[in-house]
Symmetry: none
Subunit: 498 residues, 2 copies
Amino acid sequence: MGESWATLGVDLHLETGGDAARGGVRKGLTDALREAVRGGRLAPGTRLPSSRSLAVDLGIARNTVADAYADLVAEGWLTARQGSGTRVAERPVAPPVRPAPARRPAGAPTYDLHPGTPDLSSFPRAEWLKAARRALAAAPNAAFGYGDPRGRIELREALAGYLARARGVSADPDRVVITAGFVHGLSILGRVLRARGLRDAAVESYGLDIHWNLLHRAGLRTAPLALDGLGTDVAGLAGGPAKAVLLTPAHQFPIGSPLHPDRRAAVVDWARREGGVILEDDYDGEFRYDRQPVDPTPWELSKSPVRYRKGQVGALQGLDPERVVYMGTASKSLAPGLRLGWIVLPDSLVAEVADAKGPADSCGVFDQLTLAEFIGSGAYDRHVRRMRLRYRHRRDELVAALAERAPRIGVTGLSAGLHVVLRLPPGLDERTVVQAAHWQGLAVQGVGAYRHSDAKVETWGGLVVGYGTPSDSAWAGTLEALLQVLSAVGDIEEPRPV
Amino acid sequence: MGESWATLGVDLHLETGGDAARGGVRKGLTDALREAVRGGRLAPGTRLPSSRSLAVDLGIARNTVADAYADLVAEGWLTARQGSGTRVAERPVAPPVRPAPARRPAGAPTYDLHPGTPDLSSFPRAEWLKAARRALAAAPNAAFGYGDPRGRIELREALAGYLARARGVSADPDRVVITAGFVHGLSILGRVLRARGLRDAAVESYGLDIHWNLLHRAGLRTAPLALDGLGTDVAGLAGGPAKAVLLTPAHQFPIGSPLHPDRRAAVVDWARREGGVILEDDYDGEFRYDRQPVDPTPWELSKSPVRYRKGQVGALQGLDPERVVYMGTASKSLAPGLRLGWIVLPDSLVAEVADAKGPADSCGVFDQLTLAEFIGSGAYDRHVRRMRLRYRHRRDELVAALAERAPRIGVTGLSAGLHVVLRLPPGLDERTVVQAAHWQGLAVQGVGAYRHSDAKVETWGGLVVGYGTPSDSAWAGTLEALLQVLSAVGDIEEPRPV
């Protein structure tokens, strides 16, 4: 029976097996460490000494310690992480029995109003297959090889035509790059901008943390711009460290307001003046319902409304194609499962982006060729029109039902897109409502989940309601579930006159 | 200046004049449409919305639209035909001059023997489309959404079965992750290993620099292991800084030899002893032609051959699924354009890899479902068998022709895969041969292009000949071109007896 003390990092008393055989020492050390964790002598989160120093302390081979650590990591008692060494796991319950992961997340909601996904039951399967057949028949053999990092020319041509016509984008096929969706494109652009020496990117006060994290991973800091009734306040860019800004000009996500025309002009002026780059996330530009949107922003609901024409919703990129990187996606107009997005680049960025992407970091050629055929045949326009009508109908039903049954709820951001923002009455905490919805099997997200931690905005309680998510057959039930939750919490929270 | 959207028939972004007077509106609309046609945003032949629907969309009088259309027809920008409505004229005025992009790289070779691409003309289009139709019909709606970061369960199940059967891989669907090809998978693994604290990865003396660069980009240094007649010398791993090693055990790329059974065992022992991870690149495991490969390695050509059984070519992963990460791809068995690959992970890495990948960094769901159907229906096996016969036939023709017409050339690495290595006679510089081939319109690569800059190997001149690359119809001509180049340079360089 030998005893030793390890003193680096943590005082650790181990009883190692006396067997001199290596297997015996390793087993003894592993058992002793496991017992120390199980018994609580080594608390969760405790950092263990390095295998080298523990080996010196114990007078045994370093590999023996490393093996013991590895065994315990594999068993779940310890964790190994870059920069923080080996630590006692936070919940070191023995996981030898591993339950088969459920095929769908446990407790999947009965009703789903999470934003960000279109109605998947409406995917045009028959039309898509027709386009796939034509595309496959027409494809040259070379299409099946490693190709242009920008993607297939057929799709780049089809997109250049479509985006010019439908979104006012100044595009030519040479400056279009196909990606596996917006996230893929943003990740490439983050790397390219970092490689150009950028360290800071401005973002909006509201957005998706997955996007901000992508920029962080690329080595860029993000700082949010203020947001008010005119949209994101781009004046905050002037003279600042950020030389790139990520915006959703047509339909701020998730707040819903378009960027005011003055600010569209101002951000382009800033980019020209200071050599900045604007990343335009046009995630749902296809879905605009009202010619002259007049719905108030959440701030305006409680103030005198700002009066301006909000009709300008073409791509910001059209104002200056050399300063704006336009990014679109098929995830909202068709389906996220396609994993297809596109970037329209300034000339000066094309080579760098193509290089960062490379011919092997791409998406399947069949889907590219099929989408090209789908656009070229007019099927894309027809699908978008059909879905636009359907989503607008849902929006109208939602707004009418809310006005009738939950009149204290303000509705904003409703002139476009697949979601609205509900502003909750003062005193009604959004987490309470989200939780109440969860209990009723209704998935809905609080607006706080989209707020940047450094956001410079007055906070308020709200829900982001993705009315595009349910299937047609589920829509009525989902709407009813939402109304019941809102009227229930409204009844509870509303201060009653005595 | 106001702006408007027309949505009936075609999505059209117009800037109309802000003057409220009818003449002003008419002029604004006319100017905007003319600009859209002149600038190419409205392509020749595009059908415009009816004057009635555009008027509704723009909130102006129908006659104003009709007048604007009439003006533009009179000017020649539009055409009006009964039954086909108003369209953009076929040849308006010349759009801004933009040089037409070249559709194919300048100087594409007439004959292509670059390795790494299968015969693209043999892609099974009809079978693939059949599988796509069945897959699309069977797909649940949820398949079109953001999904499991590991990929579709249908494909993970199909691959787990196939890999166990065909490659001896110990796989279950929970440990399979679908990627957009090998490069995508390696890039994810590099990031995961770096996040675990690894700083060094061992690689082979020969390989692809794109793979090494991916590891560098993830923050890992690469150092090559020595290579000899038994394959890569894994003894160099012992006690070294690298805790991960990237290997091509079944068919060293590009040298062609399999890893000797003793070394397969030794590298697994190393991984167990030192907590190492083996990354197994099984890029062309489907294509093995000879049960007991006996072809000499390039080193053996000039020495007494090493005698051992080389028959063992199943996946290394089968020896220890918790120490080996198995990586395969559809790029050689089907086509690189699919952008489909797969990783079979140790349990301990699944969560980290899925987390690093994320649900949006993936490949299209249709190709995933189609490949699952393709494998499940037996079409994949049939295709691989058909191609194996075809490639073996080419290999046999190549070897026979070289023996007859370029007898001083040694041929190695011929028992598997889609390429062989030709060892040039001493005194014949491979760059000379590659250049001579280039002049003849034949693309072929020197073996030096695949040598790691720190490779610990005796260097020698050789060519890597990808005989799988040409189409069937191009094969005979390509082989003849190679033979002519080799006999020509052989004649020039061969020392003649005086």
